[in-house]
Symmetry: C2
Subunit: 519 residues, 2 copies
């Protein structure tokens, strides 16, 4: 059997979805209460530097963000490849006629109010739309969807999605979950090759999209939020083929009884029971997750962490309470925190004061971190910590965190290091420099380790800790480590990474090679 | 048996812990690297308006925050009630002698490096300290603890704990978990009567503190983070008595094997196995939680929600994906989301457009919320939404959200309403006014409902959504509803509230009465 990723000169049938020469937005409007449409479908294109033409369309004419508004697709003076429909459902059949006249290739329907309502005449409307589009050779994305994000060419439906190109290809049957996943992933330093919100999937569906991502050289990891599928047999084939070469992470929404009912109400999907999906996803070698957080944690582990050999880990952080919690969560997820052997403990005791420390596993390293903070700030001052850390190496022989990390790294029983930091447990005002210079040396020192390392920033209570922790989060990401936002999330994802690596070592090996070679 | 809450003229033996006429801080320092001590133990007293005298003590003298530094306790020219020790462990015996000379009543040891290290000579040091203090009739809090927060008299070890007085009495064996719990609770609009971080519990322990809170008329709900106990028999008695009159929520840290080992390393506590604790807490009628989030969710439900009669609920929110997720999480926690009966559905269909809605349970109310947003903003403009909502009532007959909520409230099968809002699922820039005017009317309208209501703000990805959601969070809290930050957390806590109410209806009835009468 030929690998599905063999170089093919023939482009995938969906390839043109991502390369429209122009985009028309039917229903763009100068009405302030309809302005959100421009915010979704015009502003992002401008901001992301989309190079094709943008054509707002509205019978009332006018001007939007400096662009002339055309009264119909027919009035547009140049070819229209991609049409976004933001008009009421009942008017879409008419729009489809215009699409045919201007030879548009794709009609993406932000418009909702079709099969998902359960109302017979609207189910019927969707059927007629698809049948007509097939005859006209026009592909439909949606209805009831947000559409396409392709940072490489500046296509987006959200002004603050990253312009940076990444390795994750995402499809999502829910528009809101598309944004939830992307926003949450960005916080972890993850970026996307492509994302498609595909809604009711009346024409372009999850099978075709996953097949596309499996063949897409820009996509190294596939993520999908699916509410239901119309052709289980085909989905099985497509997923099995995709999962044989790339990690595939699936979040099947609506896995409870009420959730299943809700799924059919949301996108009209045939949802299927949880048990069926669970067995099915396991068989094809996909990784199943059950929340947006689990999805993002899993992507973080896949893209940013070397799989540990086993489940023995060492937790290093600040605060006894946080260390205990870390231990409970790690052990609950199946990890073991072996006690530090006496010889290693003796070595460590020479490095750090006993008071306020826990020289065990978990390791409350507060006093050691305090010492390193003092050293750093004495040297460079409060304003320069970030730049200084970028240029520092903490090596063996420094009598501090460099030696400390080297000793732990040499502990043969351990398979990974979990560096956690609890921002909100510090009484006093939470300050940017205090977090960064307090926890940063531990992260920078870990860059010298051979063991796989994960960083966890936990207990972020609200904006008062999110804002000042920004530079520290940046440091964790720049250091090349996965960044998690809870010990529980980290533990679950790393555990799954280890298991996936046992079952499909070749997939992860290939992923690491591809990610390394693409920088 | 007399109720432990009968009015007693004799104050509880621990009462004076909270009413020191003066506080001395041994180890306060002008050294910038030791400044954190002043930030914990001097600055908060000044900021919170503590009315007693504050005496920094350090052999080097000087001045801290405008206060003269005394070279020893003996030099202080007035009575010293409460001494905070921030000096090295080995110097504390000497400090104790000084405490005796000045007739101090309490020595609180921030100092660490005692029994928790496991080092024989330091275990011994702790024993000698306790024995000596008993002879001198001085009580010891700690060592290895943060001490006391009592907003009513302005005692605090954190500058940004709220000055507002609340109804929750908290004790925590971990200093960092004290701050984690308080900070996380504040985000939900919860405040505290008193909090005590008690560390190694070498003298004042969890039993005495829980007994105190049980008798404290200012405390309506008791929360405790405990790592271990030295006298199980006594703890059982104290807890059973406390739980017979007030809800008691216990987070036993270190419930896994590694966690138990870590607990003894953190505070030297005899930790005990998880199974033992679980049975024990159930027997005495305490509510067990397993994370800081669960603790705060449970406190939120107890203090701010009327217990629903049963597990039938209706979820109303924005976004199909978020609605599905809400359903899955609610059903997973044991709730049922009954389908909306045809007659109610017909009534609702007259109120809202079909497109973009899910007129089922869960209810994606985006178009309805959009309409109300438009009405509100047309009337008062973007800058005035918050004040306008405070003064608005949405009543039956308004043809919008008022009628909508009234119809749901009249649905006999339902026991509660869950109003959820997903901030990060909105593509486009996240704006304060958009969240507030978009979701606010739903919350304000719910104030007219008879059913118990919970509000959930989920998927807050980072500071970009935390900051602009602040006024909306304030609105939820001011409206009197519990505010949760995940559907899972809300579901777990409300489920437990319902169960607790079935088992101990008299405790919750009393709580509601006391909270209502104290405003």
């Amino acid at each position: 059997m030929a690998s599905p990723l063999d170089e093919t000169p023939v482009p995938h049938p969906l390839e043109y979805l991502f390369h429209p020469r122009s985009i028309a937005v039917a229903g763009a409007s100068t009405d302030p209460l309809r302005w959100f449409i421009n915010e979704f479908y015009i502003e992002p294109l401008i901001k992301m530097g989309y190079r094709g033409n943008i054509y707002p369309v509205n019978p009332r004419g006018g001007e939007i963000l400096g662009l002339p508004v055309y009264r119909s697709l027919r009035e547009v003076p140049a070819p229209v490849d991609h049409v976004v429909s933001c008009i009421p459902a009942r008017e879409t059949l008419h729009l489809l006629e215009e699409c045919r006249e201007v030879k548009a290739k794709v009609l993406q329907l932000y418009s909702a109010g079709f099969a998902e309502t359960g109302e017979p005449e609207l189910v019927d409307l969707q059927t007629r739309l698809v049948e007509t589009a097939r005859r006209y050779n026009i592909r439909i994305l949606g209805p009831n969807c947000m559409g396409i994000y392709y940072p490489k060419t500046g296509v987006s439906f959200c002004v603050n999605y990253p312009q940076e190109v990444g390795s994750i290809g995402l499809i999502s049957q829910s528009g809101s979950n598309t944004t939830l996943i992307i926003r949450s992933a960005v916080v972890r330093g993850l970026c996307f090759s492509k994302a498609v919100s595909y809604g009711n999937a009346c024409d372009i569906d999850e099978c075709e999209l996953i097949d596309y991502l499996a063949h897409d050289p820009e996509t190294k990891v596939i993520a999908a939020y699916i509410e239901g599928a119309s052709d289980g047999q085909r989905l099985r084939q497509v997923l099995a083929r995709a999962a044989s070469t790339k990690p595939v992470v699936i979040y099947k929404g609506g896995y409870t009884e009420g959730g299943t009912r809700a799924a059919s109400s949301h996108t009209g999907a045939l949802a299927g029971s949880d048990g069926v999906w669970q067995g099915f996803l396991k068989q094809v070698g996909a990784i199943q997750v059950r929340t947006v957080d689990e999805m993002v944690d899993m992507l973080t582990a896949l893209v940013r962490m070397r799989p540990p050999r086993g489940l023995n880990t060492c937790a290093i952080g600040n605060g006894g309470g946080a260390s205990l919690l870390a231990t409970d969560e790690l052990e609950r997820a199946g990890f073991r925190l072996p006690a530090i052997p006496p010889d290693i403990r003796e070595q460590l005791k020479n490095l750090i004061p006993l008071a306020g420390s826990m020289i065990r596993n978990p390791f409350d390293a507060s006093p050691l971190l305090g010492n390193e903070q003092g050293r750093l700030l004495n040297k460079v001052g409060i304003s320069e910590w970030e730049e200084a850390l970028r240029q520092t190496r903490y090596l063996t022989g420094d009598g501090g965190i460099g030696d400390f990390m080297a000793i732990l790294d040499s502990w043969p029983e351990i398979d990974s290091l979990i560096l956690h930091y609890s921002v909100d447990s510090l009484p006093g005002t939470i300050r940017e420099w205090a977090i960064g210079s307090g926890a940063g040396p531990m992260v920078v020192a870990a860059k010298e380790c051979h063991l796989p390392v994960a960083t966890v920033l936990h207990f972020i209570a609200n904006e008062d800790s999110w804002l000042p922790s920004r530079p520290y989060r940046r440091l964790c990401i720049e250091s090349g480590f996965p960044l998690f936002l809870s010990i529980r999330g980290a533990a679950k994802a790393i555990r799954r990474l280890i298991e996936f690596n046992r079952q499909h070592p070749e997939v992860l090996q290939r992923l690491r090679q591809e990610l390394d070679s693409s920088g």
